[in-house]
């Protein structure tokens, strides 16, 4: 057998091979935690939540610097309600809109993945930020 024939024999090994088992069920199950394309595409709610968090921080700092902080009025903040809430202080309006949008998007995401601890944590944090925003609004007013 010459080298040419030997190489041809090797090249003939290059052929598709049918796996002994259908791997789709395994692959499909492994895709569950990955949620890849969406993760890498930066979902809107994550961006909105981040922006809202930053807005809230910036507004909070500016209110403190303006010495408009009123005495603590107790924990009047309640869990965020379903209806969009509008603050009296116009400086808080942007953060309120962003937080509400983040809350809605997180709820939609949770409908698709109701057991996602990460989403639930983010929703809880968004509720806390909304409560904090209400506090700030009361203090400013």
């Amino acid at each position: 057998m010459n080298e040419f024939e030997w190489r041809r024999q090797l090249r003939e090994l290059r052929a598709p091979v049918v796996p002994p088992h259908d791997l789709w069920a395994r692959i499909d199950a492994a895709l569950e935690p990955a949620e890849p394309a969406r993760t890498s595409a930066r979902p809107g709610w994550l961006l909105a939540a981040s922006f809202a968090g930053l807005s809230l921080l910036a507004v909070g700092l500016s209110l403190r610097q303006g010495a408009v902080i009123a005495p603590q009025q107790g924990s009047t903040a309640t869990a965020a309600t379903q209806a969009p809430w509008k603050p009296d202080d116009p400086r808080l309006a942007g953060a309120a809109v962003e937080l509400d949008a983040a809350r809605l998007e997180l709820r939609q995401a949770l409908e698709q993945a109701p057991h996602s601890a990460g989403l639930q944590r983010l929703l809880s944090r968004t509720h806390q930020q909304q409560s904090r925003l209400r506090q700030l609004d009361q203090q400013a007013g």
């Binding site: 057998m1 010459n2 080298e3 024939e5 030997w6 190489r7 024999q9 090797l10 090249r11 003939e12 090994l13 290059r14 052929a15 598709p16 091979v17 049918v18 796996p19 002994p20 088992h21 791997l23 789709w24 395994r26 692959i27 499909d28 492994a30 895709l31 990955a34 949620e35 890849p36 394309a37 969406r38 993760t39 890498s40 595409a41």
Partner: protein, 183 residues
């Protein structure tokens, strides 16, 4: 008369899958699994269990990276390269010795060993017995048809080292296929 079957293109399915459409991804799986499996099966030394794990890993990674797929090549080509890369990473992670320069004295003299006719199964068994990196170079070059430059890039080695590894792998293979040699 039943409606004509809907024709799905890989590109359409890849775009849909990148948006999270699992049915589209399953169609891509059905379309390409045999080619992917064949490549990783050979690189994994004809070990079905490992090849199945690597194939699963390759498709999961493809799903995760679909958003980065720019459609500059065919989806099948992109997936095949990704799967080969997964198999090569597995070889590296399993502690295969880094490829160093192979001295000429360590190589069998090609003139000493004749080319032997071998049955397909015999050839596959012999390839499976090669050291993992030498096997990877031989499979990629002689079976899959890659160039040394591509192999060197994927395996993070010099082109000369890839050539030396191929020379070594061929020599070992021919020795294993010598008449009278236990396979």
């Amino acid at each position: 008369m039943p409606p004509p079957p809907v024709a799905w293109s890989d590109a359409d399915d890849a775009r849909a899958a990148a948006r999270g459409d699992r049915q589209a991804f399953q169609r891509l799986y059905r379309q390409h699994v045999d080619r992917v499996y064949g490549a990783v099966y050979r690189l994994a030394g004809y070990d079905h269990a490992r090849a199945e794990d690597l194939t699963q890993d390759a498709f999961v990674r493809a799903w995760q990276k679909l958003a980065d797929f720019r459609h500059e090549s065919a989806f099948g080509t992109w997936l095949y390269r990704l799967a080969v890369n997964v198999a090569l990473m597995d070889i590296r992670s399993r502690g295969a010795q880094p490829v160093g320069f192979v001295g000429e004295e360590d190589l069998p003299d090609p003139g000493e060993v004749p080319f032997c006719a071998a049955e397909r199964e015999e050839l596959e068994r012999a390839i499976a017995k090669l050291p993992p990196r030498a096997r990877a170079v031989l499979v990629l070059h002689d079976v899959e048809g890659w160039r040394h430059e591509e192999i060197a890039s994927e395996l993070d080695m010099a082109v000369g080292t890839s050539k030396a590894q191929l020379h070594r792998a061929r020599g070992l293979l021919r020795r294993m296929l010598e008449p009278g040699e236990p396979s």
